[in-house]
Symmetry: C2
Subunit: 215 residues, 2 copies
């Protein structure tokens, strides 16, 4: 019975996600569902990306259980931002996105980031209408994460390994993270970045522009 | 309709949690539901606790989506460990615990840790029969976490701030974490620890023994 309920929720979600996707495609906007556990650096990566990218008009939908800290951080960089408060829900779903799309100036954008709630599990199960999913892992979370939380690694087109500046101070085998992520998802593109020092950000932005252009 | 379903699930869960709790109380075991986001250090804190505590017989139930890495790490310290694989579920619930209790030697224990799935959101919603909830936050996750993920801070009797050894290398205001956690939950007991250096572990163990003894 429990499985049936979940399955119906997911089917309904997928239908709304498809509707969202049609609107994104009609407007020519490339959409990225950005996911990670709490504090891995989603908002920091958005800040770096928005401030360093050229030639791409970017918009952001921020998803948080409550508050608007992230929207204020990104909005201060003069990009259109809409904040969703999930009111307790641990992930964004397609309906939440659908409900705010009237407030997103799709016709003026090339690229829309949807920053999900910080959670390494549930967001990977719910499509929101995105072209691709991208995930971030802070290397401070440890090298056992791909095999313990496989779905997000399997669903993501890219894995951004953030906080590489902490490598000398944490006991982490970055090679193992990369090997395990690739074993789960041989096509995943991996970036090693530090949003603090800026290391790796140009490579990430280069890939992003290439993906958005293919749209 | 969606709310009704969730509410029924939570009611059913609470009934089973109460049954679990009766078994724990009958055996005189103090039970801690240990929660955090991914990679904050739940298993590391258990390793430190088990290896340094004296005068308390400890058992562990490990909850992971898949795999048995954590159970092997803790089991190597010669404490009874049972691994639960949730098969995708993002939290432990009371029924999952109920199903493995026959494999836990309750009569031989003073203290049982239930290590939840790494997730800063959903585990806080589901009682499993514990006496208290304890949460861990890695300071590398950033100081905005209490206000963005309030429920877990509100539900926990103690907050273990881990990875304090990283303080010189991350931009984090530990004072703000403590102030915000206390504003959400004035009774929460806060420990600053480093499972890497051992800093703060004796204070944590002292509190733990006091709480378990009051049982």
């Amino acid at each position: 019975m429990k499985v049936k309920v979940v399955s119906k929720i997911l089917e309904a979600n997928d239908r709304i996600a498809l509707d969202n996707r049609k609107l994104f495609d009609a407007a020519g906007v490339f959409v990225i569902n950005l996911m990670s556990g709490p504090g891995a650096g989603k908002t920091s990566l958005l800040e770096k990306t928005v401030s360093q990218v050229s030639g791409l008009k970017i918009g952001v939908i921020e998803g948080d259980i409550c508050g608007s800290d992230d929207a204020e951080r990104v909005g201060s960089l003069n990009v259109p931002v809409v904040q969703i408060n999930t009111g307790g829900a641990c992930h964004l779903d397609a309906n939440m996105i659908s409900e705010v799309l009237a407030d997103v100036p799709l016709d003026q954008l090339d690229l829309l980031f949807i920053e999900n709630v910080g959670n390494l599990v549930c967001p990977a199960e719910f499509k929101v209408g995105e072209d691709i999913k991208v995930m971030i892992l802070s290397i401070a979370e440890g090298h056992d994460k791909p095999l313990k939380y496989p779905l997000m690694f399997q669903e993501s087109s890219a894995l951004v390994l953030n906080k590489t500046d902490l490598a000398p101070y944490v006991d982490v085998d970055i090679g193992k993270i990369k090997r395990d992520a690739l074993s789960l998802n041989p096509g995943i593109k991996i970036f090693e970045v530090s949003c603090k020092t800026g290391q790796g950000i140009p490579e990430w932005i280069g890939w992003l522009k290439e993906r958005a252009r293919k749209n």
